[in-house]
């Protein structure tokens, strides 16, 4: 019964979101599109952190890899044949590097959006988890990776566009990106991708694999001593989160029109985790809602008082961790508990007789 209520809520949310192009301004639709793209990444964090207990503070890296791969394709698609991106010419490069050129083909770019982050995430996870590095050390390692990645992007200006990143996308598969009708299509594609990712995650968690992940969070060595290679399970979970992050990054830049190192570094990576924590890290619906709320909050606050956001996000994190460790999704049950406590309290009072 309760399961049906949950599915009905998810379906209602999906319908409300699907109709958004009919009631939101194009500015707000573009924002919502970005945040829905971010929600795909959050689903991955929910699986790794919420279920398996693997905290990564470097999801920005995999998100960034997906974003940069698509951005490279968009950059090339905007050029006349034989031309090079402007920043390469300014940096004195005389020909396009091979690893740029391969993404000229849309199919390769599309595969790259998923495969590049997935392969990077699996390679890193396999090396680290096999050496039994976990917990806070893993979090620090991923954070360092985020720092290295953004620093590398800035320093290799000739290949990455440096601090400014990649921008001025105007065409994808022959469509004009700035066209409002096409923006609407991109919005629905993003929502569809989110819905598919959601269903995949839900399915993954319902399988034996999902049970093992939860078990790993409870007692990794116990699971190993039941004959499971926990490193393999954690690696697959992390790879899945990497793939989702890559897709998320690629969809995001279709709405935002730009990707730069500042969007993939340490601070954005931490904000991704905070959004998940606020929504409720172990609930898939929770992380989607949390991501939307935190990002809209960020947009509203930063456009009113730009300096305030960092303080608000810090305070929000402390508040959630201390008062609501299971996130916003646990509010209804917390509310019910408080109500029953109040109810008990009032019955106790009534035993003392009326106070009048």
């Amino acid at each position: 019964m309760k399961k049906w209520i949950k599915i009905a809520c998810d379906a209602a949310l999906l319908v409300v979101l699907a109709l958004a192009p009919y009631y939101l301004s194009s500015y707000h639709l573009s924002l919502l599109g970005r945040f829905l793209a971010m929600a795909i990444l959050s689903l991955g964090i929910s699986i790794t952190w919420g279920k398996a207990g693997i905290l990564s503070l470097g999801q920005g890296v995999f998100w960034g890899l997906g974003a940069y791969v698509l951005a490279m394709h968009l950059k090339l698609a905007a050029l006349a044949p034989g031309d090079m991106p402007d920043f390469m010419m300014w940096s004195g490069l005389d020909h396009l590097p091979v690893w740029w050129n391969i993404f000229h083909h849309p199919a390769v770019a599309l595969a790259g959006v998923v495969l590049v982050p997935t392969v990077t995430a699996s390679a890193m996870a396999w090396l680290v988890f096999n050496r039994r590095v976990s917990g806070v050390y893993f979090a620090l390692l991923t954070q360092a990776l985020a720092l290295v990645f953004s620093t590398l992007l800035i320093s290799e200006q000739a290949y990455t566009g440096g601090f400014n990143g990649l921008t001025d996308f105007n065409t994808i598969l022959g469509h004009d990106i700035t066209d409002p009708g096409f923006q609407r299509a991109i919005y629905w594609i993003t929502l569809l991708a989110l819905a598919i990712a959601f269903v995949i995650c839900r399915w993954v968690l319902s399988t034996g694999f999902g049970k093992v992940l939860v078990a790993v969070r409870d007692g990794e060595s116990r699971v190993r001593f039941l004959g499971y290679s926990t490193a393999a399970y954690k690696t697959v979970a992390f790879a899945l989160a990497g793939a989702l992050a890559g897709v998320s990054g690629a969809l995001y830049i279709l709405h935002a029109g730009v990707i730069s190192p500042a969007m993939v570094g340490v601070v954005p990576s931490i904000e991704m985790v905070i959004a998940v924590a606020v929504g409720g890290r172990s609930s898939l619906t929770g992380v989607v809602v949390g991501t939307l709320l935190v990002n809209f909050g960020k947009d509203a606050i930063s456009s009113a008082i730009p300096e305030l956001w960092q303080f608000v996000v810090g305070a929000l994190f402390i508040l959630v961790v201390t008062a609501l460790p299971k996130g916003l999704v646990s509010l209804p049950s917390v509310f019910l508990r408080m109500k029953s406590m109040l109810f008990k309290l009032s019955t106790v009072n009534s035993l003392d007789g009326p106070s009048t």
């Binding site: 399988t207 694999f209 049970k211 093992v212 060595s221 699971v223 001593f225 004959g227 399970y233």
Partner: protein, 252 residues
């Protein structure tokens, strides 16, 4: 003579120059119970660690079913048919009782084969059987976190049984149990010996007596004496080790 299921040959485990196990030898026959006793720090738990691959011996080897498993990864040793119950209950608290058992019972533990949702009828019936054995049928859908301490102990014993491993290693299975519960545990272990070999560590002599099995006594990382409980009690060497600790081996 039957060939040993497990043989620990000359195994030495040293931590920073201290030999937790010192040229230790042990043989276990198929379908038999063996009790391992010894003072604290004698190396009993380290021996289990060495068998299951948790610590790697500096010397000697561990042979299981004729195969040298000394350098094999822990989870692969488990897949070969050894399962261990730890001293502290190591149940998985966010899973239900039935899921805990199913996780232990599953045959295919490779990651790529874990994406099925349904358990095979064989596994399901084994989980049912174990639920009955440990008396937790009513609790099958409760989270393991909500069990009492004794029930958690039972659940972990149940997980080891559900694994259907040929060799079960039980580290203090009756710790923290009431007299009745520990009697039941002893009965359960004796009945299991028709299918499994079982190596039990325990301090509680009443419990050891109930197990009614050959006893191996360890001291300072070595095998001191093997025999029946009565022989061990009457051994002058054992008495010397326990001098001043008479309480640990009381005469019945």
């Amino acid at each position: 003579m039957t060939t040993a299921l497990l043989s620990v040959e000359n195994v030495t485990v040293s931590f920073d120059g201290f030999n937790a196990l010192d040229h230790m030898n042990l043989q276990l026959l198929p379908k038999s119970v063996r009790v391992l006793i010894g003072p604290n720090g004698a190396g009993k738990s380290t021996l289990l660690d060495a068998i299951i691959g948790h610590v790697k011996p500096t010397e000697g080897r561990v042979v299981f079913k004729g195969e040298d498993i000394t350098r094999v990864d822990e989870y692969k040793i488990v897949r070969k048919g050894i399962c261990r119950k730890f001293q502290a209950p190591g149940i998985l608290e966010s899973l239900t009782v039935a899921d805990n058992l199913a996780l232990a019972a599953r045959r295919h533990r490779e990651c790529w084969r874990s994406f099925g949702r349904r358990l095979s009828p064989e596994i399901r019936s084994r989980v049912e059987g174990v639920l009955g054995l440990i008396g937790l049928e009513e609790k099958r859908h409760s989270l393991a976190a909500h069990l009492s301490h004794g029930q958690k102990q039972w659940l972990e014993i149940g997980m080891v049984v559900a694994s259907d491993a040929e060799l079960l290693l039980l580290d203090e299975p009756a710790a923290g149990m009431s007299q009745d519960e520990s009697t039941q545990t002893a009965e359960l272990i004796r009945s299991l010996s028709s299918r499994h070999s079982i190596l039990v560590i325990d301090h509680d002599m009443t419990f050891v007596e109930q197990l009614d099995a050959p006893v191996s006594m360890m001291h300072m990382g070595k095998m001191l004496r093997e025999g029946t409980l009565e022989e061990i009690r009457n051994d002058p060497q054992v008495a010397a080790v326990y001098l001043g600790r008479a309480k640990e081996i009381p005469h019945a």
